[in-house]
Subunit: 427 residues, 2 copies
């Protein structure tokens, strides 16, 4: 099915009806192929995991640089040499870093539950004792950020996620409400749009006045080093900007090696001001016996240093960049110019953001499902899964092999056009 | 300094004064030796950690029995084969088990914070919305249980920990208060007394009526398989007894391999009713990307099965039983019959409970410290570190080498007698 330079909206009713017949036939053909493909999972492929298989035989020792026995209890903030690697990658001082277990999501949850039950160092009271707590959610965003807030009873207010980060005027309009206690930011190669928060936007977010004295920006830098091109974008210096503007406790930064080494068996990290870090470690001390330091040492031996991580990430790039190219090729060749879809061409991260004709995203996902192509549920990049325009679809091309990405995306393009034609011919 | 069969309280004032002079001289000699010994840490010794060094080179594969890639995300309840090992060791059905990260303490904290913020499946409301929440704490007990409750704002009410478990009449007298929402139990080789909760006591705790419909017994079976003799005591069947008495959701069981393999890099587990487990996994799903399944597989390959764990524990026993014998020998030879100290002779676990003359525990710890022997702070086995009789000291003999245990305990015995003589001659 060739693409057309004519926007569908410019076609006559007859032409639309004819095209609907053609595309429906293409869809029936697609369905008949009995595919079983999955673009839902922001997971590394097994070829990516293979890059780290040497970890399975490490560490070769059980002492860290200081001579401590990593097998035993203790060392709540993590191995110094592991903290140094994260500090270098995140552009922060090593003193600000804590290395934890296998999940930065868990560290975010620890921070939020501690804010709820105890309050932060600058909180008038525990957040759970406030009549209502709200969080600003740039959309589209990461579904797990939103479901975590919903679980914890924190209300969500959305702002647009622009190409240079969260929409600052929209954020400013919200933060004079003292119930607005914080916001999510995925600063680099954001899930799902791939947007990179500019230094200017970051500076404004860190400097803006907020009614809540304990306003927190949970700065989830999950894709800090996950470049898809040879332009290795640097993340904005959230901690430095916050300190310089007199709000050192505002940002808490998160990262992990989940999409660097083994997704389920990596090392997570948090970085924050001295006061926030002490507060976090004090809370953590009541709940933990120290992180898995053997796994820290395993990673340190595997990488040596931050440059080892950067080299490693280039191998990931070589494996997954072709998959992103396949997504772009499929969408461009089949949908460009039709006026029924826009999509991102990310330079890093794990996702492509696809915006289809308003009101058709759920239908696209349903059509794809019936053709054996699993897509992330429409709306999942919005709080409570509710995309007010029903147009947003997150594509995750890393986990399937390249052939499957190509096959799946060719199918998705058919579904996008079919749903649009159904909508346009309906009335 | 020979021991005496005469209780000190039976000595005349002159004899006491003479003995004080002798013991003070012995203490000065002890101090002059410039020791640097530590009996505070309930940590495995490095010879114990060495027993598991093969783990450092495992796993040899990255697929579990079902074929799943353990390197990737997912598998929230843990590897089936790891869960089977815990089920066998804990005497529970495998369906009830969740395997997690490296710390059962973290799982306890997750459960308590979830009860506070969400409530359990049978809670009228989240515990944090109750005017007051109280927990029953058998004393002496595990300091980290108590500090966790204090951190979370849960009030503590003490009951005696008897040789067969928590004092049931004392517990019964408390649970008709609906604010009393739960209790701690370390059922087997309890920290610090080594007491083992009998099946009868367990049955009563599981069956007793409680005013709180969501009463929880956090059943921390940390030492389930940590036998010090060849009598391998079986833990009471908490889940079975609770289900049989109509309170299936009452107990939540915890365990880990921390004192089996690597203290800081082991695998923790939770076991509970179907409803509790579903509730826990639902909460966990908002906060985690799955446990470190590579570490699960590493442990499965290392042990094969539960009998592999039991065999391994016998090697631990061979290493640490002599240290417990050294404690017993030092205390018996120097303090027996003086009427100033009682101590446990545990058949499992990690601690010896030493009760000295009322009002002298803090002084003993201070004297020991000045002689270079670090002891756990007096009172730490009580809520808020407050031992009303100031008599309880927890001895942890596993971490130092045998010579050090012997030297330290000889010194401790001198300190115990000196503090007693100071007290007896004062008044």
């Amino acid at each position: 099915m060739p693409s057309s330079a004519t926007p569908l909206s410019a076609l006559s009713a007859d032409d639309l009806a004819a095209r609907l017949t053609t595309v429906r036939a293409a869809y029936d053909e697609l369905k008949a192929r009995g595919l079983k493909l999955d673009l839902t999972r922001g997971k590394p492929g097994s070829d990516q995991l293979d890059l780290s298989n040497d970890l399975l035989g490490l560490p070769s020792s059980y002492r860290d640089r200081s001579g401590a026995d990593v097998r035993n209890y203790g060392g709540l903030e993590g191995l110094a040499e592991m903290r140094e690697i994260f500090a270098d990658l995140l552009g922060v001082d090593v003193a600000s870093v804590v290395c934890g277990g296998n999940s930065s999501l868990t560290m975010m949850h620890q921070v939020l539950t501690a804010l709820l039950l105890k309050g932060g160092p600058d909180s008038p009271r525990p957040w759970s004792q406030e009549p209502v707590v709200k969080f600003i959610c740039p959309v589209p965003g990461y579904d797990r950020h939103f479901t975590m807030l919903a679980e914890l009873g924190i209300e969500m207010v959305s702002v647009p996620m622009n190409a240079d980060g969260p929409d600052v005027p929209a954020v400013r309009a919200l933060v004079d409400d003292p119930a607005v206690k914080g916001m999510w930011v995925v600063p680099t190669y954001a899930n799902p749009t791939g947007a990179v928060c500019s230094a200017e936007v970051a500076a404004e977010l860190m400097a803006m006045p907020t009614a809540a004295p304990d306003f927190r920006i949970l700065w989830d830098n999950a894709y800090a080093v996950h470049h898809l091109t040879d332009v290795e974008t640097k993340s904005a210096d959230a901690l430095g900007l916050a300190a310089a503007s007199g709000h050192p406790n505002r940002p808490i930064m998160f990262a992990s090696t989940s999409k660097i080494t083994f997704a389920g068996a990596g090392v997570a990290a948090l970085a924050a001001s001295a006061e926030n870090k002490a507060w976090y470690l004090e809370r953590l001390g009541f709940a933990a016996i120290g992180p898995d330091k053997v796994n820290h040492l395993r990673h340190v031996e595997f990488f040596d240093d931050a440059d080892g991580v950067r080299d490693h990430m280039r191998k990931h790039r070589d494996l997954i960049a072709p998959k992103f190219t396949a997504v772009e090729d499929a969408l461009s060749s089949r949908l460009a110019g039709l006026g029924i879809a826009e999509w991102t061409v990310p330079t890093g991260g794990y996702f492509v953001n696809l915006d289809v004709l308003d009101g058709t995203a759920s239908r696209v996902v349903q059509l794809a499902k019936e053709a054996g192509i699993a897509l992330t549920p429409a709306g999942s990049a919005f709080p409570h899964g509710n995309d007010p325009r029903d147009r947003n679809i997150r594509l995750a091309p890393t986990f399937p092999v390249l052939d499957e990405v190509q096959a799946a995306m060719a199918g998705v393009a058919v579904c996008v056009e079919l749903a649009a034609l159904e909508s346009l011919t309906r009335g």
